[in-house]
């Protein structure tokens, strides 16, 4: 990285321009796409509430952006000391969901404060990054780890996973697990322990199927495995999403011209399937550009980690990067039909305050690490 690419900040810190540009690019495309996605609700001059959510999304970007700037400005090493404190607060708020939670579509994920609802499980993602990073920071072993060594980290992640599964929210707990696992993958683990984990994981699948997963969650997985079986419910959603993407072709139908979206065939087009809208409007060319940007952010996070001065910074960068990565892979994966529909948002594309603010806070963390390499 050439020196000219960095803008000087006080104390010798410099803004990471490539990262910032990539984030701004994705965020801009996200809002533009949201406008197209919800334009279907504009009806004969009367604008339904949903047609205006892109404006709220801009507000969330402002709020999240300010928070991200604040986080970026703070030296991340302060957060290392406060990690457990935040973590406890997060777990408490997650517990509150069961007490105060607003029930939306069969699961209680939201806490209402005034006219805002917020989703603690989203913010927990950041806390998991912080807390696992702190665990890695505090335990700088160089010899391969045993299962017992990993137990504290497993406990720290396991608690929110259990709480979120109880909401129930399969997608979010999956993100927790994958993010934490990606971070822990940076360390050496004994081969025997890895083998044990794999075997235990395989054994857990039937048990989870029987005792943990709800019917609708199982349904999503079976309809993914057997798309012909279910052409009405969730399978139909996945089918229409694939059709929308395929309909985009090489160059796309054009902005706000995708018929699948414009005629209401793309399900949950502003939350679960914004990528289908984007791919239909902009085609393969636009999609590749978007995915390349996402890919860049992920690789850049690894790059930032590789240059970090300490373990905490490196772990945080990897954590944010993997959170971003798994979100993108799962969301696009379910839109294109190679992964089951589990309700994981597309970073900065899906509508939702908690999601957007969480992602921006994470990217703020990444920025903070990047600025202090």
């Amino acid at each position: 990285m050439a020196r000219g690419d960095r803008i000087s900040f006080r104390g010798g810190t410099q803004i990471d321009m490539p990262l910032l540009l990539a984030i701004v690019a994705v965020a801009t495309l996200g809002v533009v796409n949201l406008y197209s996605a919800t334009s279907v609700y504009v009806d004969a001059g009367k604008r339904a509430a949903l047609a205006d959510i892109y404006v709220s999304q801009v507000y969330w970007f402002v709020v999240g952006g300010l928070l991200a700037m604040l986080i970026a400005a703070i030296d991340y090493r302060h957060l290392e000391r406060l990690a457990y404190f935040f973590y406890v607060g997060g777990i408490v708020s997650l517990g509150l969901v069961f007490v105060l939670g607003a029930d939306i579509r069969g699961s209680s994920r939201w806490i209402q404060i005034g006219s805002f609802t917020f989703q603690p499980s989203e913010f927990i993602k950041i806390l998991i990054v912080l807390v696992v990073a702190k665990y890695l920071h505090d335990d700088p072993k160089t010899e391969p780890r045993t299962l017992l060594d990993l137990a504290p980290a497993a406990g720290l992640v396991g608690l929110p996973v259990v709480l979120v599964m109880a909401q129930p929210d399969l997608g979010t707990s999956l993100v927790y697990l994958l993010t934490a696992a990606s971070m822990l993958a940076m360390t050496k683990v004994r081969a025997a322990s890895v083998a044990t984990l794999v075997i235990a994981g395989a054994a857990a699948i039937p048990l989870a199927w029987k005792y943990v997963l709800r019917d609708y969650q199982k349904n999503r997985i079976t309809s993914f495995l057997d798309p012909e079986h279910d052409k009405t419910g969730i399978g139909w959603h996945a089918f229409q999403s694939r059709t929308a993407i395929g309909n985009g072709g090489l160059t796309g139908e054009g902005f706000m011209q995708g018929t699948q979206n414009q005629f209401g065939f793309v399900p949950d087009q502003y939350s679960d399937f914004p990528f289908a809208v984007f791919a239909e409007d902009w085609g393969l060319l636009g999609s590749v550009l978007l995915l390349a940007t996402y890919c860049f952010v992920c690789i850049w996070a690894v790059h930032v980690a590789s240059q970090s001065k300490d373990r905490f910074g490196a772990a945080v960068a990897v954590g944010v990067g993997s959170m971003f990565f798994w979100h993108t892979i799962f969301n696009v994966g379910m839109a294109v039909g190679i992964l089951p529909v589990v309700g994981i948002t597309l970073p900065l594309f899906s509508y939702g305050g908690s999601s957007v603010v969480t992602m921006l806070m994470g990217l703020g963390l990444l920025m903070s690490v990047s600025m202090r390499r």
Partner: protein, 649 residues
């Protein structure tokens, strides 16, 4: 990013970064591969599916052609019927329902029934509460207006217009005009490719059925864009996504003009008031066109065509089929009766042609005729009669004499020549063939024991011979016009909905019956005598001054009691059929008519008054129309009216 600032413990992570980048690249490459697969390789497939999603076809209804009478009076047309539906779960039973009850002016029974229906539907599981439930068919226009006005307050109530066939003249000519029914699955399967759909109406009988393919018209369609959400139609986008042709206009059904005169039909109906059952046919002797066909008792085609709901249709048919007077049977075409004495002119012609009798041949009538060991009775003691007197007074003895000398096959041959025993080819309604028995027929029927008595009975129109009213009318038409047997016609022309004639049906001659003019004139003189001579069987019952000729008939009925008849009423069904067949005016005939009063008793007494009144009414109508035409000619249209659109249509 100098090496110096790195802490030693970061080194543990160092070897993982390359793997992480590889995993990231792998993940995105998989997505990329899948995108290429969906958008490039399968792109056309998905585009086709996406188009299929948004393009729908809207069926454009056609209108069934109108049926008119010979003078343009509408016999069958279409009217909108309004059905009221409710979506049970949307109806507020506390507030809205009482208003609906009030607006629809439901009586207490209906209110209770429908309230129960709705509450049951609301309580039922599944989709029933959200499905349209029929409340009432064919509500009054006032109710429709009231419901429409308060539409916004009446959530869950819908008024749906359905086209219904409408017959302004009700029972009049119902058998001939016909009625509609809903297509059944069998017919639907058989008519595949003709554009029928489940729930369609089609002509069930009569002209409605026979001319179905003309009357029906053709549905059109329009391609439309449709989405998942109910949104305003995106007509602006139609040129972009819809391929041409985007629309096929429906073709309205052809209008059919009949030869029938509905006013004459009404006059006949009126003159039959006193009778329970029977048939009247009037044909034009110069063309064979059917001017009137009345079959009694009749039924209301409006009810059986479904305008008042399926239940009304079912009830109506249940009633109609249970009626021993058989209201659904077209007695002019679909039923054959023994002709009785109305057959005598044909027997006379046969005998004259063969030289078996001479106009002056005299036969002594002593009230009957001895043949073999049997005595064949006459209607009275007529003394010495010649042919003329025999026809005028309907002397059986004279014709028994004819029957003794003639071969039965000769009688059958002449009968067939005049169109008996064969279908007339009118094409409307299932036609009865009737029967002109031959010797072979009797031999087959009576196991080889043919007896001469059969011929005697055949000569007076009794025995096994049967004819339909229509056959008889056409045969009398042939007598009247000098021997031309026409093919009967019901439809005069086919027109497009704007009145352009697309097809006209000129009269068609079936056959020229070879009769000598002189012999025919003798017989016709007899027929005139029936009406005008004091001795004539029709004389006393004929309205004075009626210009017609004809022959009465009384056909014996086999004493078989129809099923389901009250024993107290059996006497009625054992009474003879009364006939009167003739033509008018007597000298230059224009119409031929047949009156059949089922179980009417003696022809002279019961059928003649109807025939006589019929001719009177026909004359009146003719006069009225002639003067209307004349006055129309006297007053040529004013200059200003020239360019004016044809307001009469």
């Amino acid at each position: 990013m100098s090496i110096l600032v790195q802490r030693s413990d970061v080194g543990e992570f160092r070897r993982r970064y390359r793997w992480m980048v590889l995993v990231i690249l792998f993940g995105f490459l998989v997505l990329l591969g899948r995108l290429v697969h969906l958008q490039i390789i399968e792109g056309d497939l998905h585009r086709a599916q996406a188009r299929k999603n948004i393009i729908g076809e809207l069926s454009l209804a056609t209108t069934r052609g109108v049926i008119r009478d010979a003078y343009g009076k509408v016999l069958a047309a279409n009217r909108p019927s309004y059905n009221v539906y409710a979506v049970p779960e949307q109806v507020d039973m506390e507030k809205t329902w009482p208003r609906i009850v009030q607006l629809m002016a439901l009586d207490d029974g209906e209110k209770e029934e429908l309230t129960k229906k709705l509450t049951d539907a609301r309580a039922a599981g599944g989709t029933r509460p959200s499905q349209q439930t029929l409340l009432r068919v064919d509500v009054d226009r006032d109710v429709v207006a009231a419901l429409m006005t308060h539409e916004d307050d009446l959530r869950g109530i819908e008024v749906v217009p359905v086209p219904v066939r409408y017959y302004p003249h009700g029972e009049l000519g119902a058998h001939l005009i016909g009625y509609m029914r809903e297509i059944d699955p069998d017919t639907l399967a058989r008519y595949e490719g003709r554009g029928y759909r489940a729930g369609d109406q089609l002509g069930a009988v009569g002209v409605e059925r026979r001319w179905e393919s003309y009357l029906r018209g053709q549905r059109g369609w329009r391609k439309v864009l449709r989405g998942i959400n109910k949104r305003a139609a995106r007509e602006d986008l139609e040129p972009k996504y819809l391929e041409e042709p985007r629309r096929l206009e429906p073709v309205p059904g052809r209008d059919v003009s009949l030869t029938v005169d509905i006013e004459l039909e009404r006059a006949i109906e009126n003159s039959m008031r006193g009778q329970l059952a029977g048939a009247v046919v009037v044909v034009d002797v110069r063309t064979g066109r059917l001017l009137s066909a009345v079959s009694k008792p009749s039924f209301d085609p409006n009810v059986v065509s479904g305008g008042s709901g399926m239940r009304a249709v079912r009830d109506a048919f249940k009633r109609l089929y249970a009626d021993p007077l058989r209201p659904t049977l077209d007695k002019t075409i679909s039923a054959a009766y023994p002709p009785g004495s109305t057959f005598k002119p044909f027997a006379a012609l046969a005998a004259l042609a063969d030289g078996l009798i001479h106009p002056n041949t005299q036969v002594q009538c002593r009230g009957g005729y001895e043949y073999g060991r049997r005595f064949f009775r006459c209607t009275g003691v007529h003394g010495t009669v010649n042919l003329h007197e025999a026809i005028v007074r309907s002397c059986n003895t004279y014709f028994y004499h004819v029957g003794e000398s003639i071969h039965i096959d000769r009688l059958a041959k002449v009968g067939l020549d005049f169109g008996f025993g064969v279908k007339t080819g009118i094409g409307v309604n299932p036609e009865a063939r009737g029967r002109m028995p031959t010797r072979a027929w009797y031999t087959r029927r009576y196991k080889g024991a043919f007896r001469g008595g059969f011929t005697l009975l055949a000569a007076i129109g009794q025995g096994a011979a049967t004819v339909t009213a229509l056959q008889l009318a056409l045969a009398y038409g042939a007598l009247a016009n000098g021997g031309t047997l026409y093919q009967p016609q019901v439809v005069r022309s086919i027109e497009t909905s704007d009145g352009t004639v697309v097809q006209e049906f000129p009269p068609r001659v079936r056959r020229m019956v070879s009769v000598s003019d002189d012999q025919l004139a003798r017989v016709k003189a007899g027929l005139t005598g029936v009406v005008v001579e004091r001795e004539g069987t029709a004389f006393h019952e004929t309205l004075p001054g009626t210009d017609m000729a004809g022959k009465t008939g009384t056909a014996q009925v086999s004493h078989v009691t129809p099923r389901g008849v009250d024993p107290e009423k059996v006497w009625y069904f054992n009474r003879d059929h009364a006939w009167f067949a003739g033509y008018a005016p007597a000298r230059s005939p224009e119409i031929a008519f047949v009156v059949l009063v089922e179980h009417g008793g003696a022809g002279g007494k019961n059928a003649v008054p109807i025939g006589s009144r019929l001719v009177r009414e026909w004359e009146k109508l003719k006069e009225k129309r002639a003067s209307a035409r004349a006055s129309a000619r006297r007053q040529p249209p004013k200059k200003g009216d020239k360019g004016a659109p044809d307001g009469a249509r």
